[in-house]
């Protein structure tokens, strides 16, 4: 089967005046459909940079990225926007919810920009957003604005938003980074559930016990992959 993610020699170089920062320095990875992969590595090793490129939010300086076999390096802004809208759900460490906007409206956001197939009516959008909120156990907070929600609840709203368009691939950059251990576990449960339903998940984390819950861990060191062992054993959390 075609891997859902495959990269060849990804490089991301930031020019800071005369200094060059090689955030990514030749990354080759392959992630198969249905995998749950953790990305680890010390601060500044390039994890977020990689996630942003894999999530089509950023472009590599060099190298190729095949998403489900399709080279996305050459796509324009509009095409990338469509991919982010339909194929990808991104979960950020800092939630990235729209302020002063209800949880429901936040979750509806990807549906607003969905234009493939027939358009959805406002009622249909609300219905689907509500279903996504239910899936993360927040149906009763639909009318709350982000500042009226706890950190864990905010992240669950963000996950509902990532889910609402039913994407195959979920990218999560330190989804539990701003949460306490217990709340982090709740988020992990939701991710496991999503994985169980067949979604591919790539997640950055600093916590070994969280990484241990996944099927495989990719470790980054200075913009390179240290280990990418696809043969890794059973998840230890079981």
């Amino acid at each position: 089967m075609v891997p859902i993610i495959q990269t060849e020699g990804l490089r991301k170089i930031y020019e800071m005046g005369s200094v060059q920062v090689k955030a990514l320095d030749g990354v080759d990875i392959r992630i198969d459909v249905g995998e749950f992969v953790a990305v680890m590595g010390s601060s500044g090793s390039g994890k977020s940079t990689l996630m942003n490129i894999l999530g089509c939010l950023d472009r590599p300086t060099e190298g190729q990225y095949f998403l489900a076999g399709e080279d996305v390096s050459g796509l324009n802004k509009v095409q990338l926007a469509a991919i982010r809208n339909r194929q990808l759900g991104f979960i950020f460490q800092s939630f990235n919810l729209l302020a002063r906007t209800s949880a429901l409206r936040n979750v509806m956001l990807p549906l607003v920009y969905k234009r493939n197939g027939r358009g959805l009516s406002t009622d249909e959008r609300e219905e689907r957003a509500m279903a996504a909120l239910e899936a993360v156990g927040l149906a009763d907070r639909a009318d709350h604005e982000p500042n009226e929600l706890s950190g864990g609840q905010r992240q669950r709203v963000a996950i509902a938003r990532a889910l609402v368009n039913d994407p195959a691939l979920i990218m999560a950059d330190e989804p539990t980074g701003n949460l306490d251990t217990r709340t982090g576990e709740e988020i992990m449960e939701i991710l496991h559930d999503l994985h169980a339903r067949g979604r591919t998940i790539v997640m950055v984390t600093h916590e070994p016990h969280i990484a241990a819950q996944t099927q495989r861990t990719i470790t980054m060191v200075d913009g390179r992959i240290a280990t990418a062992d696809a043969q890794e054993e059973e998840p230890q959390w079981q």
């Binding site: 489900a68 926007a81 982010r84 809208n85 919810l97 920009y113 998840p235």
Partner: protein
């Protein structure tokens, strides 16, 4: 919780063909309703800022409406006053230097005898004449310098549609006998005699003692003429006592202005031609040499209109500039807003907003700000114009076209000045926008 294998993995469905189709679909607009809803939410999310942004447009639109109402009111007032000079009047005015004060007295002139000729023409139902001269008036212990002493004829009140408040006007006998009588304008009567009855009192004009026989009703200022500050005397008396001319016995007594009241049903152009032909033949000159011009009230309104046009243009400029300043205000705040909301833009992009979606969102916001500002401005402008008209001496007339104009300019300004900030927002890169602090 266990990983179950009940659900097969979800694969991306995109073949190259899918991506191609998707790109084509992505150029489709999202529903306009949704765009305006997003824009409206953006406006509501920061009410104070939105209000401040609109303020410029509100003031600009209100200014356009009030200014146009004032100038339209002024024009209407002038038109009314000119109409108030009398109905269907033809003004036969001596050309400058041809019988006017200080003019050449030897060439062909408009004379008192011409009045009779004009009166005899078919279609002329009445005539009057004015021979004004400025004189000091002494009476009752007061001296008024520079009163306009107007020599005229008994037809004057009916032709010019002015009325007497008290006493009588000049009559034929006064003409024939050059009686030393005067009819006072309301203002002059008030200034000299106050509340006392002026009838039968005497006034002294340039050492000539005149008996007051009548007082005119209030008329006010029309054009450049303050009717209330005039004193009327028999025109024959003016010729004999106030502006005697040694040439009069050769060429007749000059007049400055003859009013001819035209029959409503008469053809104005025919009457004008008749007047020219008859006067030219009586003077033995060609029509082109005639020492006068003829104007109808409409001609005068038009001339006055030209004079107020400068005023109107000035107001239009002031209003236009304030609208543009309002537009720049929108641009300014929109630019700040784009910077402030960079993260929001990033979030929208991260879930699939295209550059065009972002551009339209901000354009719609600018448009709505200016339209809502425009509506408030219209309300403020109409209220302001009504209030101004009610509290000042100036009349205001709200011109419906000005409301349409102001609203359309507000919309145009919203789009024009919203475009740059909207474009700036659209060009942001998702990752840069998301990283924005």
């Amino acid at each position: 919780m266990a990983v179950t294998q009940e659900h097969p993995p979800v694969a991306l469905g995109n073949t190259p063909r899918d991506l191609h189709d998707e790109a084509a679909e992505s150029t489709r607009l999202i529903s306009p309703l949704e765009i305006f809803r997003i824009a409206w939410e953006g406006i509501l999310r920061n009410k104070i800022r939105s209000l401040l942004t609109m303020l410029g447009v509100i003031i600009g639109v209100a200014a356009v409406i009030v200014m146009i109402a004032i100038s339209a009111g002024t024009e209407a007032t002038i038109a009314d006053q000119i109409k108030g000079l009398g109905a269907n009047l033809l003004f036969i005015q001596a050309s400058f230097g041809r019988g006017g004060p200080g003019g050449n007295e030897t060439g062909p002139m408009l004379t008192y005898d011409d009045v009779a000729i004009v009166a005899g023409i078919n279609g002329v139902v009445g005539t009057s004449v004015e021979m004004p001269t400025n004189q000091p008036v002494k009476a009752n212990g007061t001296t008024l310098t520079d009163v306009q002493l107007v020599g005229t004829t008994p037809d004057y009140p009916s032709v010019r549609e002015v009325s007497l408040a008290d006493g009588r006007f000049l009559n034929e006998q006064d003409m024939d006998r050059k009686t030393k009588v005067a009819v006072l304008g309301a203002g002059v009567a008030q200034e000299i005699f106050g509340d006392a009855d002026p009838i039968g009192q005497s006034i002294t004009v340039d050492n000539v003692k005149l008996t007051v026989v009548g007082v005119m009703a209030d008329k006010g200022v029309v054009g450049n003429t303050d009717f209330d500050a005039r004193v009327y005397v028999p025109i024959t008396l003016v010729y004999s006592r106030f502006v005697p001319s040694q040439f009069a016995r050769f060429v007749g007594d000059r007049v400055q202005l003859i009013f001819a009241q035209i029959d409503e049903n008469a053809n104005l152009d025919d009457v004008k031609t008749q007047i020219q032909l008859k006067l030219a033949s009586s003077k033995g000159i060609s029509v082109s040499e005639l020492p006068f011009t003829m104007q109808t009230q409409d001609d005068i309104i038009e001339t006055q209109g030209a004079a107020t046009e400068a005023f109107r243009n000035l107001l239009a400029w002031v209003a236009g500039v304030s609208l543009i300043v309002g537009g720049i205000g929108i641009m300014n705040i929109m630019l700040v807003s784009v910077t402030e909301r960079t993260r929001e833009i990033g979030i929208r992009q991260s879930v699939g907003a295209t550059p065009n979606d972002i551009r339209l969102q901000f354009l719609a916001e600018a448009l709505m700000l200016s339209l809502v500002g425009g509506l408030i401005g219209i309300a403020a402008g109409v209220a302001g114009a009504i209030l101004f008209g009610a509290t000042s001496d100036m009349r205001t007339v709200i011109v419906p076209g000005s409301i349409v104009l102001a609203f359309a300019s507000a919309a145009a300004i919203g789009v024009f000045f919203g475009f740059y900030p909207a474009n700036k927002a659209a060009q942001l890169d998702p990752i840069d926008a998301l990283r924005h602090e």
